[in-house]
Amino acid sequence: MLGIAVLAALLPLAVSWLGFVFTVAIGKGLAALGVAILLRAGMISIGHALFFAIGAYAIAFLMRDAAIGELVTLFACATLITAAAGLVVGAFMVRYRGIFFAMLNLAVSMVFFTLLSKLYRLTGGTDGMRVPTPSLLGMELSRPAFEQALHLIAIAIMVGVALITDRYLKSPLGQALSAIATNEVRLEFIGVSARGVLLVAYIASAALAGLGGALSAVAIGHVVPEFSYWTLSGQLVLIAVLGGIGGVPGAFIGAFFLELVRTFAVGFAAEAWNAIIGISLLVVIFFLPEGLFGLLQRLETRMRGRKS
């Protein structure tokens, strides 16, 4: 994890435009980590773009209507708002399993997408809303300086969130998630409420997706309804599985990989970058069952073996 963070911090020093790419990648990585938490319990959500969009639009609304201009406050508020949304939606979702869980998440996110694009007066419709540059701890920074600062903040958030999520997944509450995937009925027989465990996980995953959306909104400077379209949800699941759901770093590795491929693909094959992503996804699924993270781990053990 530390290795990725150092790499993500140092590379843009050499290639400056990578800073923006990495910030957006971390935003998606956070959301994908949320999806990965639910995947632990064997629950696949094709609707987490909902929380990504709620986080992003929360920033836009807070800046426009509540006149909050401080980055730290904005992130905190956006995360809390999405966590609250996660509680409301989650209370309904945890009753469902398997395909129905996936599809209900999809349905709710699509309803939200339609509302975002149709309530023109409130949300700017399909044009979206502009997100001005917030201040940072009271300082008004110029856009380039702000982007650099945001990049470092994103890395700090990534490391912090990764540590907390790791602790959570290793705690009994997190371990119970794997138990739900293996056998939910047995979990209930030992007196643990499966729905309670799932609700906590759902709220956590929603908050993560919201924070990711908030980060992306500030980095991109614009929010559009497409943030909650189902193809983004699909991308988030893709990132989570591409990276490997075995460990917390997987989601971020997957996100960096995806954003880099996208950046390069737009350069030489703009029309076909989705197809390139699709093909690399199939290659990873068929040839690297543990994901990119598993591949890195295997390389690491092999290197260590050679040294000793």
Partner: protein, 298 residues
């Protein structure tokens, strides 16, 4: 009073017919292969593209009647080209793997097919109206209806009954039912389950492409059609109870009527309607209208 709503109902039923073709294909594939095919909508848009291209070509050559032939031949072409190929190569890998993985494989396929369509057909919208114009209109009780819409409703009924008969009365249908009921026992009895899988998947592809081809005279065909269609098909299949053909039919009628009512009364929110119906139905019946509750294994 009722006469005022008759056009609304016919619009809704014609819409329902188109939704039914896609949703029933999705539900059929799910019931046999236990895979939720995210790429299903892409077969729909492929069928639509192909029928518009072939239809405009033959109409341009002076045989407008042949555009009906295009509506029928294009789903066959899509099915023959992609159905067995995709099942044999991609999906076969995923049987018995976790659900998330299966959905992702089809999502990868969706991404590839969507871009392939953009590369082949470009990003400009296509449309054709020859079949609609040829059939003209008819006047019933003082109200003018499009004959094409009536044809759609009739075709949907024929397909629904045809599927029912296929599954209940024919040999291959009984094999499909046996594999759905218990794959292991079916294999033990000597049924070639992998052939049944391939047939069922190809049938699903055909139904989706047929829906797309038949829809092409009524809507514009442009990129993003597949993505839109698949979520609608998901909603309808879930309302009906996954794997239930009658369920898909009833759900398609519900959603079609609700959509045309929405266009009439609050056109802005027409896209939300299918999901609201879905949320309402699943709130009351968590496994859909015709779905049955699975056993919880200890």
């Amino acid at each position: 009073m009722l006469a005022n709503y008759a056009p609304l109902i016919v619009d809704g039923l014609a819409d329902a017919a188109l939704i039914f073709f896609v949703a029933v294909g999705l539900t059929l594939v799910f019931s046999v292969l236990h895979i939720l095919n995210v790429a299903h909508g892409s077969f729909y848009s492929l069928g639509a593209y192909l029928s518009v291209v072939i239809g405009s070509f033959v109409a341009g050559r002076g045989w407008p009647v042949l555009s009906f032939f295009a509506l029928v031949i294009s789903p066959f072409l899509v099915t023959v080209a992609l159905g067995p190929l995709i099942e044999r190569t991609l999906l076969r890998w995923t049987y018995g793997r976790p659900e998330a993985l299966q959905i992702l494989v089809t999502f990868g396929l969706f991404l590839i097919l969507e871009d392939a369509q953009k590369l082949i057909f470009g990003v400009q919208p296509y449309s054709q109206d020859t079949p609609m114009l040829l059939l003209g209109t008819s006047q019933i009780a003082g109200i003018v209806y499009l004959n094409y819409q009536l044809l759609l409703i009739g075709l949907a009924i024929v397909v629904a009954i045809g599927l029912r008969l296929l599954l209940k009365r024919t040999g291959i249908g009984k094999l499909i039912v046996a594999v759905v009921a218990d794959q292991e026992i079916a294999r033990a009895l000597g049924i070639d389950a992998s052939r049944v899988f391939m047939l069922a998947f190809s049938l699903g592809v055909f139904l989706a492409a047929l829906g797309g081809a038949l829809a092409s005279p009524t809507v514009g065909v442009s990129p993003g059609l597949g993505a839109e269609t698949i979520v609608l098909a998901f909603a309808v299949a879930a309302i009906g109870g996954l794997g239930q053909i009658e369920g898909a039919a009833l759900a398609a009628i519900l959603v079609g009527l609700a959509r045309s009512a929405a266009i009439y009364f609050m056109p802005e929110f027409q896209p939300v309607v299918p999901y609201l119906v879905m949320l309402a139905v699943l709130l009351v019946r968590p496994y859909g209208l015709f779905g049955s509750i699975g056993l919880r294994r200890v």
